[in-house]
Structure formats: C-alpha cells, structure tokens
C-alpha cells in the first residue's frame, strides 16, 4: 500500500475524534499542493502527500488552540510542532500527529531551471502537467515533456535534512528513512563573500522587499503575528517608509526573535514572493545555537529553549578579554 493510502487510512481513523485533520490536497497548478482541512471522509479522498506537499502545516495549529485537531507532518514540519509544544504554544492533548517518512519536496524554481527551456521564457504557472513516479518526475510545459530525477529538483533544505521522519507522532506510517548531514555549507559559502559584499547584497535584496510579511506569517513559530512590531507604533521600531534599512531591520527582528527556537523549516524563504533568501539569517542563528548551546530547535518537546535558561558558567561562550 502506498504511503498516501496508508496516510488516508490513518486520517480516517483519527477524523471522528478531531475538529479537522490538516493535510494537503490538489493545488491551483500542477507544481504544488495546497493545505487541505479535512472534516469528512469525502475530504480525505482529496488528500495527497508526497514531493508536492511543500507547505508546513504547523503554522495553522495555534489558531485551533483549545480544539483538538489532527495534522499530517513531514520531518521538518514535526519539528515545528515539537518546538511549539516545548514552548507551550499548543497543548499536547489538542493535537494528533500523523507522520511519514519524507523523501523531500520539490522546488518549483529548480524544475523551471532544469527543464532546459530558456529561463526567461518560463513561468512556474506555465507547467501544464506534472506526474510523479518512483524516483522521477515528468513535467509537461509548452507542449514539451521532460523527465527529471526527483533528487535533482528537491528543495535545498531537503538535501541537508537530518530528520526526514516525524520526530514525534501519534501515528507513523511507512519505513523510516536515513537522515542526512548538515554542515551549514550555505553559511560558509555566504561568509566567503567580503563583509562589504554581504552588506551590499542585503541592501540590494531588501530594495525589492514589498513588506508583505509573508515570511513572518508563514513561520509557525512567529507568535505575535497580529500584534507584530513591524507595523505597530508603540513600540515604534520601524518606520513605514520603503527603506532597505527598515526592511533589513525587520528581517533581523525576525531572526533574533527566532534565536534558539527556529527549526529550519524554510517556510520564510519559500513564502517570499520576490525570492529574497531570508532563511539565511536564521541559518546563522541556528548554527550559533548548535555551537554555543548544543541545541537544535524542535527535537525534544521537553527541552527548554536555550535563551530561556542559562548556566552560571558558560564554557562555550568566548567572552572578550580586555587585558
């Protein structure tokens, strides 16, 4: 039985006990799934899980606080759920977690590049058909059909995924997969640029930020949302001017607020409509969190986030010596 069929069975089993089960269903174009909120067995018929199930559904859990819901999670999504549990943002008894081994999700932009058609002539929306079979994906665009290996077009986060299986689940279907290594190569690569280059890189990138705050709203661990300092006047951290400075500052606010909490699901960057690599700030923070506090967000629901605690002596923190 396919993973998808097994998941459907698991969902049907959970359905009577919950307000709804959050999973994925067909999206508006063949390249992606859309979140699906299942209340009836008919809804479950539309459920899909696989390389198109990109979005992290944990972002919706807080809206249901106090009502029991089911959620289908990939490994990375499960870490968001775990971190939310660790921070008591949701109650364990309110959520039924259905996990499966994730083989990676597709990155639409990579597919577009791989298709061999001239880049400028292609929009994601032009893909007419997409079929998944085994390790390959067959894409039809502009009357041309191309077969690609899934591993070549998965999201970058999938190629460094340590936790492809749900780290916490009430129901788990399928065979667990091996995790991969993450050596923060992207961070090192970025640091290879000079300081000035890095600074000007962000200045240029932020110029096109439209301040839609999708990076914030797609983040399962951004808890203020409706009361965010980004638009509040009291406190007044930011002006509403179309300034790279204000826009960069917001990204740094987001990154600092996620310090020691971020689980690296990458939704902030995926949500960005103008492709600003905002996930990079959090990658810096996550590496520092691992280095300083040997902590990874969203792995242990009992763990205290490192910035909510301290040690009397901090052997890993190298303080400046003024002598």
């Amino acid at each position: 039985m396919s993973i998808q069929a097994q998941l459907r069975d698991a969902i049907l089993k959970v359905l009577p006990d919950v307000e709804c089960v959050i999973g994925w269903g067909p999206g508006p174009d063949p390249l992606r799934n859309a979140p699906l909120f299942m209340k009836t067995p008919d809804d479950v018929e539309r459920f899909e899980a696989g390389p198109l199930s990109v979005s992290n559904l944990a972002v919706f859990l807080q809206e249901y606080k106090g009502n029991k819901v089911g959620i289908v999670v990939k490994g990375c999504d499960s870490r968001s759920v775990v971190q939310m549990l660790a921070e008591k943002l949701i109650n364990r008894e309110d959520v039924v977690i259905i996990g499966y081994p994730c083989e990676g999700v597709l990155d639409a932009a990579k597919i577009v590049t791989k298709l061999g058609l001239p880049q400028e002539a292609l929009e994601a929306g032009m893909v007419a058909k997409l079929e998944l079979e085994g390790e390959s994906v067959t894409v039809t665009a502009r009357g041309k059909t191309t077969e690609l290996a899934i591993k070549d077009v998965t999201a970058t986060k999938c190629s460094i995924c340590r936790y492809p299986n749900a780290v916490l689940s009430d129901e788990f279907v399928g065979e667990k997969r091996e995790g991969l290594e993450d050596s923060y190569g992207d961070v090192d690569k970025f640091l290879a640029m000079s300081e000035e280059e890095r600074f000007r890189f962000w200045e240029k990138e932020m110029e096109r930020c439209i301040r839609c705050y999708a990076c914030r709203n797609a983040c399962p661990l951004c808890v203020c949302k409706d009361h965010c300092v980004a638009t509040s006047r009291d406190p007044h951290w930011l002006t509403q001017a179309d300034s790279p400075r204000d826009k960069l500052f917001f990204q740094l606010i987001h990154a600092t607020h996620l310090a020691g909490r971020c689980t690296g699901c990458g939704e902030c960057a995926r949500a960005c409509p103008v492709n600003i690599p905002v996930g990079l700030f959090k990658r810096f923070m996550n590496r520092a969190t691992e280095k300083l506090f040997s902590f990874q967000g969203g792995v242990d629901p009992e763990a205290t986030p490192p910035l909510q605690t301290f040690k009397l002596e901090e052997p890993t923190i190298q303080e400046r010596n003024w002598k």
Partner: protein, 368 residues
C-alpha cells in the same frame, strides 16, 4: 490620435534611451530571478517582455511609501525682553511650516501588462472621486502607459472572466502587440503622442491590424472558457453571513499581505508620522486589509479581527462593493498574481465560483 506605429525589437532599447533623456522610463527588468517594473537603465538595456512581472506596476503611480508633506517647527526668534515672565505671553508663538513634495517627473511605463493598466483605471475613480488625491492624480497625468498585449497567458490568468482582455484597449495609452520581429504600437489616447515622435518608429505594416487581432484572439482563446459572474455583487452580499463558507475558504490563508501587495488594484494605505527633533514627515505607505492591525481600533475593538472576515472583505471589495460604487465594474483584473504567489494556494477564482454556486443554492432555498 496618431497613426499606428511599428518598432523593431532591436530598436527598442535605443527608443527607451531616447525617452529616458526627458522622462522617467519604467520597464519590466529581471532582478534576482524576478521580473519587476523598474527604472530603465540604458547601460544594461535589460527589458524583459516575455515573462510576467512578479508585482504590478501600481508603485509607479502609488509608491510603496511617499511623503505627503514635511513639517518643521520654526524656532521662536530669540528676544531678550521675552525672558521676563510677564511678557512671555506676548512673544510670538512658534510657527509650524508644512512643505509639499515636488511635482512628479514625466514618466512612461513601457511594456506593462494589460491587467496592470486595468489596475490603473480602477484606481482612477477611487483617487479622483469624491475627493481628488493630488499625489496620485498628478502622477497619473504625467504618466504615459504603454501596455503590451499578452501573448501567453499563464494557468493562473483569468482576465477574460472579469471584463478585461489579454489585449484590452480600454486602459492604457498605447497598446503594443509583439509581432516576433518587433512591436506594433496602437495609440489609444492623446497622451500617446508624447512618446510616439521618435524617428526610430516606422509606420505600421499594411496588414498589421488584422495580424494583431489574430494574436489577441489566440491569447483570449488560451485562457479558455469564461464562466459567468453575473450578479456576483449581490451574491456575495447574500453570502455575507455564511460563516462556514468564509471559514473554509480562509482556513489555509496565512493572513500575510502578498495578495494585496502584488495586486494591481489594491489601493489601501496607512498614514504615519516620523519625526526627529523639530521636523518630520507625514508618510503614506501601502497597507493591507489582510492584517488585523488594519482595522484595530484604539479601544481594542476590531470589526475584522478574524482572518475569515478579512478575506471576505477583500473578495467582497473586488467583486461586490467596488461594483456597487462603480457602475458594475469588477475591480479585480484577473492577473492571477494573488494565486500564483500565495504560499498557501488560496485561489480567488475558486472562492468566486463557489460563491456563484452557493449563492444559487441559497436563493433557491429561499424561494423554495
């Protein structure tokens, strides 16, 4: 109105460079994997006409932020006599000087999508209606819009549903049609003449009109079947209190502002002050009805505190309220950006079609 013109693709950069000598030239350019409407740079000549810009061109007429005016408190001139408390009352009060921004530069937007030009004409009655908004109207008057007929609609495009067209002649000043070797330029308004004087422009070939029409028809065809949205305004009013309808459609919504920010017709803004010591600026900047803060009152009351209420208002504005205030014109231009860029795949077409279906059911139930 001047006769139709033709310009070879190879001459376009030179033409834009010519225009740039006396005007601000905005054109779609590639930046960081996106196509964005930006100031044309004759050094790079990078105009991108084959892809659809990620964002609309509304920022040309309605910048993401703009200064409404600056204010400055003029210091009271020092008068030794006034140090006496008895005479302090009589000393001149500090003055507050307000300064408005400079008049906008003449501008041309080259190669904008017809749906983006349509966005501009939905702004017009809002910004030039009961009250005249000088900031918008001055830019509008100073700007020539050159739209390019769409030759390859995306899967998310639905302009024909909402009374527009991939090659509509209602909205822009000039309509350009891509003949493969160059652009066929039809002047649609008098404003067009401001940019059609160049020697690089040739007279249009003899069969051009028919050829353009065939291309337009093919694009129209590519969008496919056009469902009827007859009576959508009243249908949405009928569905206003259908909680489940709005709840289920808004469930995947992240309440971010991608849809409103990319939309060519969303025109809402906020006004905030920034100040340093004795001077400052009153800014107007884009705002989004998808944010809870947008309607939050100082008392803490929020008429649209739930994201379902906010989505209902956005869809309601585009497909109902705007129609009632503007002779039945749907404000949505069917550009599909809100669908294409939505991280949660919320599809406004599905909401509207469901509303049509559900509205019929509700009416039938009421009649039967």
């Amino acid at each position: 109105m001047s006769a139709a013109k033709f310009i070879a693709h190879t001459d376009v950069p030179a033409w834009l460079a010519e225009l740039a000598a006396s005007m601000r030239v905005i054109a779609p350019v590639t930046e960081g994997g996106n196509v964005l409407y930006r100031e044309f740079d004759s050094a790079t000549n990078g105009v991108e006409l084959n892809r659809k810009p990620t964002e609309s061109a509304k920022h040309v007429l309605f910048p993401r932020s703009e200064a409404l005016f600056t204010f400055r408190k003029e210091p009271v001139p020092f008068a030794p006599d006034s140090l006496d408390p008895a005479t302090e009352e009589d000393s001149p009060a500090p003055r507050m000087t307000l300064t408005q921004p400079e008049a906008p530069k003449p501008t041309v937007v080259f190669g904008m999508l017809c749906c983006d030009a349509g966005g501009v004409t939905t702004f017009d009655p809002v910004y030039g209606g009961r009250y005249q908004d000088p900031y918008y109207l001055q830019k509008r008057e100073a700007t020539v819009l050159i739209a390019k007929a769409c030759n390859e609609p995306l899967k998310t495009c639905f302009c024909t549903w909402v009374g527009s067209d991939p090659a509509n002649k209602r909205d822009a000043d000039i309509l350009a049609t891509d003949f493969g070797n160059g652009l066929y330029l039809e002047a649609l308004t008098e404003r067009a003449e401001r940019v059609l004087g160049s020697k690089l422009l040739q007279d249009a070939p003899a069969n051009a009109e028919a050829k353009a029409e065939a291309l337009h028809a093919a694009a129209r065809e590519a969008i496919g079947e056009v469902p009827s949205l007859e009576g959508i305004d009243n249908t949405l009013t009928t569905l206003f209190d259908e909680r489940d309808f709005w709840w289920s459609h808004s469930a995947p919504c992240l309440a971010c502002g991608i849809c409103t920010n990319l939309c060519p017709t969303c025109h809402c803004f906020t006004i905030t002050d920034e100040k340093a010591s004795g001077a400052g600026v009153r800014l107007r900047s884009w705002d989004t009805c998808m944010a809870a803060l947008y309607t939050l009152e100082a008392s803490g009351h929020n008429p649209r505190g739930q994201k379902a209420a906010r989505l209902r208002n956005r869809v309601g504005h585009k497909f109902s309220y705007f129609l009632k205030n503007n002779n039945g014109r749907i404000s949505c231009q069917g550009c599909g950006r809100c669908i294409k860029s939505c991280p949660s795949s919320v599809d406004i077409r599905r909401i509207v079609l469901d509303a049509m279906k559900k509205g019929c059911a509700v009416k039938e139930a009421a009649n039967g």
